[in-house]
Symmetry: C2
Subunit: 338 residues, 2 copies
Amino acid sequence: MTIKDIAKECGYGVGTVSRALNNHPGISDKARQKIYSVVDKYGFVLNQNAKKLKEHAPRTIAVLVQGAQSILFNSLLEIIQNKLQNLPYNASVFVLNEYDNGTQAACKIYYEQKPAGIIFLGGNPDSGKEEFDAIKVPCVLIANSPEDKDGTQTKNLSSVSTDDETASYFCTEYLIKNGHKKICVIGGELQSSCLSRRRFNGFLRAMNDYDLPFNKESMYIPSMYSLQGGFDAASTLIKKCPDASAVFTMSDVMAMGACRSFADMGISIPKDISITGFDGLSVASYSCPRITTIRQDCTSLANEGLSSLLNSIEHGRKPSHKFVPFQFIEGESVKSLK
Amino acid sequence: MTIKDIAKECGYGVGTVSRALNNHPGISDKARQKIYSVVDKYGFVLNQNAKKLKEHAPRTIAVLVQGAQSILFNSLLEIIQNKLQNLPYNASVFVLNEYDNGTQAACKIYYEQKPAGIIFLGGNPDSGKEEFDAIKVPCVLIANSPEDKDGTQTKNLSSVSTDDETASYFCTEYLIKNGHKKICVIGGELQSSCLSRRRFNGFLRAMNDYDLPFNKESMYIPSMYSLQGGFDAASTLIKKCPDASAVFTMSDVMAMGACRSFADMGISIPKDISITGFDGLSVASYSCPRITTIRQDCTSLANEGLSSLLNSIEHGRKPSHKFVPFQFIEGESVKSLK
DNA sequence: CTGAAAGCGCTTACAG
DNA sequence: CTGAAAGCGCTTACAG
């Protein structure tokens, strides 16, 4: 069943049917009614492949999700898909492996699908700079920001994220104000992850501001952003720095993994050691103990990211780099030493 | 840049370029080499919209995910996308809301995208039977099974799932063998969810086999499949059935929500009450206490589901309904009363 | 307001 | 082994 069949049955031409179905102006009510009646009768839907092939303005937004295990990205994805339903765009979702090259994948998608724009959830799309240059449509990075915000390499890349450095500062200061002095970090690999670097910078700035010592050798435990990563890191931490009173952790899943590991070692939270997370996942607020953490505002992140992208697509706006406010969630995983 | 440009630069016709790019036989090595050299030079990729429009055999598999918050589905999705990378198909993912009508969404996708087949992760695609009839391509339901397996309504629907009834029986029997007699249930709405009915049937059969009483009024607590659902259900449970010694819970997230609620009420697990989950999420094995649960085998579920779908697509095989083995995970959430 | 026609970028019999 | 051509199902100037 094609638009031709519909046209024949209506007694109109295919052009008129196309215009009716796309809500274009300049169609008589009579035609519109007749056409819709037979379209409804058959439940006819336009073939998207033909539509996209023909359309001048592409109407697909590609969403690249890197790290399907991340609960945070799923919330974002759900919100984005919802918003898009009320807009003349549809989403095309791609789930990448942790170790895939996101920029390369984006290039392939760019050529194959000709999307109107690309949303990156996670990943570091500016890493392969030359490759990124090939992508000529607006892009937005959500929940992370590019290394080099005014770099010429990323002329078409916007970003919306939490101010990771400030949030980390805030969280660290909270630990310090609760009397903690010897604070370790469980975080990502600093060389490869600018997100981890920003969070570490915020942490370190707070430590410095309060004149607290930090020895990276023994007090920074690199970890995967996963439960198992946090689990393993916690036991390393106890070996390297047995007298730590608190741990600043760069994600809730790391924190939850670490909590489990501490429990196995007979170390009680927050009695024996305090811990903070990052992200504000719902599962972290149901865990025992509830994790004290920074909640990233998924709704704002998704909304701002999308509108920045649409502004670029529809009005040719320059890329912007925005922060959305975070929320500090006081759980039960930090003990006051005062 | 189109296939025409490539053809011109190569000095071949578009047909030859198309055949080279699609690895069709009957092409000289010379032509193939020449074509690939200029394709690589420009990083040219075929326009998928035109390709799909033209192709006889569609090469897209639509994946409908219902309930993006479910960690189980994400594992499945990641495995499926991985497998598909080595096959001549690509995945088109759609994330639905919990309350969307999955069958209706599938119909729309069927008409719009003309996929080769459809994978349902969760949902009850046989629920709107007449609508489902409109879908003429092979479908597979993963991690659930249709109500009526040999129904004429679902001639093109396969399924791969855990034997929910047997698994629930097993889990319940484990509680009973540990001396539990008064066992409550936190589960889904039985009217609307055949999955919940199957799990409940397994539970009830075990209770009957061991001559244990069960009063559905006071001992079955209906709940959403979510953390908050389990959290709320636990406090209802304590009011309705304060002397329960164990709770059979229909999902790990429900169990984790319930655990948190029990902790808030000062009820200790497993000392005061025992609990079991379902799914075997990694997060449940890192929680405190570790949840005793049924682990669904995501890898087998995804692999079997995909191969059943491909068998139908490529060899016209009849739909099949398979179970994959589950694993019982002994955690720390059940106390032996013996 | 409507129709006839060109053309989007491919694939695939058909003929050579 | 290769090319010329038809056609997939749409949209959109163009003409009326």
